[in-house]
């Protein structure tokens, strides 16, 4: 995972008439990386993917794949293959004919091609399905055929446009694991488009979070989750409590006065955008806040509040707790372990928190 990037986008813009669909995209994707484009509906994920695949012209900027400028290279000559959102399985062909479609221009003997098709089908867990009519497949099977059809060509880059969004939750989780395993095995660079933050966190080496045609933040999953660089990113990935705060001093550490929590200080890297003195917003994740149950002891700092809402999830319970001096109730989540009761609405409670869990965002 080193060396020069496989895909480079420099200053890429895309206009549809008056609509500015991609804004100054700067992107480098390394060989063998599992890269995800994450963002809300309509933010331009598909457009960016189609640009890389060669189905959309750039309005400005350059796209290089494997050191070559792609400006004049049509889709059918790019070293990329795509798994479409609709899968685009050819309904008039059999499963095997679908998978073999890209081999038409291949001069290998027939028997060898047939072997490649069988191997590809086996790789995606569809061994023996070659003779089936493509239109009679289930959603998950179609998705696998689409994968096999793309992988058989051993592209440098595999582009996946929300490949799992049509599947039910169980199937989706299973396919996520299989995709990761597949990607490790074949060593092909994957670019995955998704609007499911959990999927992106689970699968990716790196994620670009997009809003309205531009990239808001690009980082590995942990950094993205723990150190989002804006409220928008923090809000889109997981849940986050936002508290108004005041930066009182910034040196080797940053001193803060946080609404409801009081004074504290955080490390420099907890302020991804720097720490100008003055009003700011601090984020804290629900799972870093902990209810101190009766008879439990904590060394962490605590605040008092009253349970405002309870949602029981089986393995977890989600609470909203009203804390004096804080405008919005704090969200927090507790693992349901033996001996811990599920609290009722109106119960007075104590919450412990940790300065290391804070992240300083723009005001």
């Amino acid at each position: 995972m080193s060396g020069s990037p496989l895909i480079t986008l420099r200053g890429v813009n895309k206009h549809y008439g008056d609509y500015h669909a991609l804004r100054d995209i700067e992107l480098e994707i390394r060989q063998g990386e599992f890269f995800s484009l994450l963002g809300p509906s309509g933010c331009g994920k598909t457009t960016l993917l189609r640009t890389i695949a060669g189905f959309e012209d750039l309005s400005s900027g350059t796209l290089m794949i494997d050191g070559k400028d792609m400006a004049r290279v049509p889709a059918n000559e790019r070293p990329t293959n795509m798994v479409f959102q609709s899968y685009a399985i050819f309904p008039h062909l059999s499963v095997a004919q679908n998978v073999a479609f890209g081999l038409r221009r291949d001069s290998r003997p027939k028997a060898e091609k047939a072997r490649a098709v069988a191997e590809a089908l086996e790789m995606v867990g569809l061994a023996g399905y070659g003779g089936r009519a493509a239109h009679a497949l289930s959603g998950g099977q179609r998705q696998r055929v689409a994968l096999a059809r793309a992988l058989i060509l051993q592209p440098k880059v595999l582009l996946l446009d929300e490949p799992l969004s049509a599947l039910d939750k169980k199937m989706r989780e299973q396919m996520q694991v299989e995709l990761i395993r597949l990607q490790r095995n074949v060593g092909i660079t994957f670019i995955l488009v998704t609007h499911d933050q959990e999927e992106a966190l689970v699968m990716s080496d790196r994620i670009a979070v997009m809003f309205e045609g531009s990239i808001g933040q690009m980082a590995d999953p942990e950094t993205l989750y723990r150190r989002p660089n804006s409220r928008r990113v923090a809000d889109f990935i997981g849940k986050m409590n936002f508290l108004s705060a005041e930066v009182t001093a910034a040196g080797a550490t940053v001193d803060l006065d946080v609404q409801g929590l009081g004074r504290g200080s955080i490390a420099r890297d907890q302020a991804p955008n720097g720490a100008p003195a003055g009003p700011a917003v601090v984020g804290i994740r629900p799972e870093t806040l902990t209810i101190v149950f009766d008879g439990e002891h904590t060394d962490r700092r605590t605040i008092d509040g009253v349970v405002d809402e309870v949602v029981y999830y089986g393995d977890m319970t989600y609470y909203d707790v009203r804390v004096p001096g804080v405008d919005e109730p704090l969200h927090l989540s507790m693992r349901n372990v033996i001996g811990r009761p599920v609290l009722d609405v109106g119960t007075p409670t104590r919450i412990s928190w940790d300065e290391r869990a804070l992240v300083l965002l723009d005001a």
């Binding site: 889709a75 293959n81 050819f90 008039h92 221009r105």
Partner: protein, 274 residues
Amino acid sequence: MKPPSMKFPALRIYAIIYLLFLFAPIILLPIFAFNEGKIIAFPLTGFSTRWFETLWERPSLHSAVQSSLIIAVLTSIFATIFGIFAARGGAMANFPFKGGIIGFIMLPLVLPEIILAVALLVLVTKVLGLAPNLYTIVLAHTLMCTPYATSVLNGAFANLDASLEEAAMDLGESRWGAFRLVTLPLVMPGIISAMLISFIISLDEFIVAFFLSGNVTTLPVYIYGLRRQSDQLPIIMALGTILVALSIILLVAAEILRRRGLRRAGLEDAGGFL
């Protein structure tokens, strides 16, 4: 619960009268075509195939049939090709003034045929300076049939996922290869049904063929020529019977092909011509 129409006897009576009105003339055709007598009147005088035999023995009729068939075949080919371009463009491409251009293709549908006929006659004889012949009729019929072919094909193309062609290109095919290998087989039932419908329309078309016929006589023009001789009426009935039967067979064939193609491709039925 009864369907709503059953609750209103008036509606049922309306439906029966409507169907009678629609089909009575067509039912009369075979009745008199197989009737022994020369006079078109009840009571019938007995079963006979003599009028069909008479038909068979007329060379002038043979040449009319031949002209009509040539015109209909060529028309169905041209109209369908243009229809493919229009329907594919309408469904998959984006270009300036798209709505207007597509509307323009459909215009002959609502233009009075007599106006079209006169305009075409002027165009062919005065502007282009040609003598009307078989091929000017083909030209005119193509113009008239293209909107029908287009609307049949619109259904076929609207069914098609636009990413199928892109997927084919993504897998290495050229634009043409993607069209030939993916789109064409998927819209083939629509193409066949468009050809059959154009064929029927061209075969039955009278006004334009009459104006532009010159020295060729098409079947409808031939029939028109027979109208004043009352002793020829049973022959017209026989001819009409054949034409109606042929039309029905072709239409049903077109629809069966279209449905079977859809089923085989596992696509939704977006409504065909029937």
